[in-house]
């Protein structure tokens, strides 16, 4: 295994913002800013290797040690519960997990509630904590359609601005959890690369104003 620090970044705007923080912590890799379709970038002098992966896969790369650290949304961490350290809240990609339904929806507690979601485990845990019997309908996208077509009573999904909900005559009826991007680390690799990882954590905390 290489002694480079392997960093899994989520593809997209969030990943680019996260890279800026890493650069300021002394882990620059200028080639990453070039416009091309490469997925792996390394800077042997700074001892760092970055790779772009699908945001929902970051936790898998980190848990299995292919990446030492990475940035993943709290939604993914709560859904899949990977065995990783969660070292910092980047306070980026802030949104919330919420329950939404058609405007005017009234819950009938005598019936099983049909819940459409991408986040089965989060939804299951949420309703278990309320003691509510539910029927989970797993969907992979366009969750908002489910209540409109009568496929489900409610949806459990990520809400950023609420525009999609509004345009589809839906509204949030309950907040489940606040979500933001987190810095995660592989527990074993952390033992061998803690100095570099600590540097990044303190840079992040400094930038987001955390302790």
């Amino acid at each position: 295994m290489s002694d480079m620090l392997n960093v899994a970044l989520p593809k997209g705007r969030l990943g680019e913002k996260v890279y800026d923080i890493f650069e300021r912590a002394g882990f620059a890799c200028p080639s990453i800013r070039e416009q091309n379709r490469k997925l792996i970038f390394e800077n042997p002098e700074a001892g760092v290797r970055y790779f772009w992966v699908k945001p929902s896969d970051v936790a898998i790369y980190v848990e299995r040690g292919a990446a030492d650290i990475g940035v993943a949304g709290k939604d993914i961490l709560l859904e899949y519960k990977p065995d990783v350290y969660e070292l910092a809240d980047l306070r980026m990609g802030v949104c919330k997990m919420a329950v939404a339904a058609k405007n005017g929806f009234r819950d009938d507690p005598t019936r099983t509630l049909r819940v459409a979601t991408k986040f089965e485990n989060i939804a299951r845990r949420h309703y278990a904590s309320l003691g509510r019997d539910i029927d989970i309908i797993h969907l992979n996208g366009s969750i908002e359609i489910a209540p409109i077509l009568g496929l489900s009573d409610v949806i459990v999904d990520i809400v950023e601005t609420g525009t999609t909900l509004k345009e589809n005559d839906l509204s949030v009826i309950e907040d489940v959890l606040p979500i933001s991007a987190r810095l995660i680390a592989n527990k074993a690799n952390f033992k061998f690369k803690s100095a570099a990882i600590d540097r990044i954590v303190s840079e992040i905390n400094q930038q987001v104003g955390a302790k």
């Binding site: 848990e63 040690g65 350290y85 910092a88 809240d89 690799n189 033992k191 061998f192 803690s194």
Partner: protein, 370 residues
Amino acid sequence: MQSNELFCGRAERAVLSLRALYRAHGYSQYKMSKFEEYDLYVRNKSFLISDHVITLTDTTGRLLALKPDVTLSIVKNSRDTAGVKKVYYNENVYRTAAASHDFREITQVGLECMGEIDAYCTAEVLSLAARSLDALSPEFVLEVSHLDVVSHLLDSVGAEGAMRAELLRFLAEKNTHDIRALCASCGWDNESVELLCALVAVSGTPSSVRAQLDALSVACPNVKGAMDELYDAIGQLETEGFGAQLRLDFSLINDMNYYNGIVFRGYIKGVPTRILSGGRYDGLMHKMGKRQSAIGFAVYLDLLDGLNEPPAEYDVDTVVLYDATTPTARVSAAVAACVSAGERALALRELTDGLRYRELVDLRGDKCCE
């Protein structure tokens, strides 16, 4: 002649050296059946790493399980006798993989020390854990924690029930931002919460974190006893020269219903999860109706498969090619010559695709040698 060990895989070699190590320290081997009553695991489900147990029914209708764990069986069969009983095991256990839900057979080697556990027993088990890791890889880390330190700090925060469980989860993640958020929402004393966060931040060799831990002991005098016990236990390891490989890290949290006191985990470079796990488990002993104490650990040797060893350059040293005209005695003699020189020889009628060899001895037809 080459040693037989060279022909073993990495895990097999490790089994041999670990067994020799444990035997040398007076541990006797514990053998057990592949099957155990399912009931044992149902009652102690949270002690198991994986929730899923592979079950089957025997001819009398009893529900059995393919054993997912060794320690439970050893504890169940142990007797409350005076003194200390030291056993080691080398067994296969059966679990389902977390991600794929496939059945897995896992080679596990470990030891248990049960009875009146004193400071020497603890130091010996920790030392054997460090030596086990050393036998697997020169680049290893042994992480040690004391659950009573964590427990006292949680008491001083005032966390109970579900909130305590949540805090423990955050501690295990080194997640100070959510600890602070949870404590703020519960209105807990800020000073105690900061002590908890300071504890999470501890991660380093005993000498490098000594000042941080001393400060914690001053701020929360309840933890002093546990802290002293921890330093006593690792003192011997430092004397044995393992100081640089030791890490004190209080994010290491095992289930407190079973474990108490000193707990530890071992990592080797290149394996992405802990390869060794152990600790003091008086809680499990008491749950199973035993009065004794116990400490032990397990090494998960299947994880060595994950290490990327450079592939062998050749499949065999020599290929001996023969055909119908070659006398059997000549083929045998050629193979025997290689074997006695400590080489690997493969006799074939024709070369198979992709076979990598260092030398070719061609005994086909009139050809003599190539």
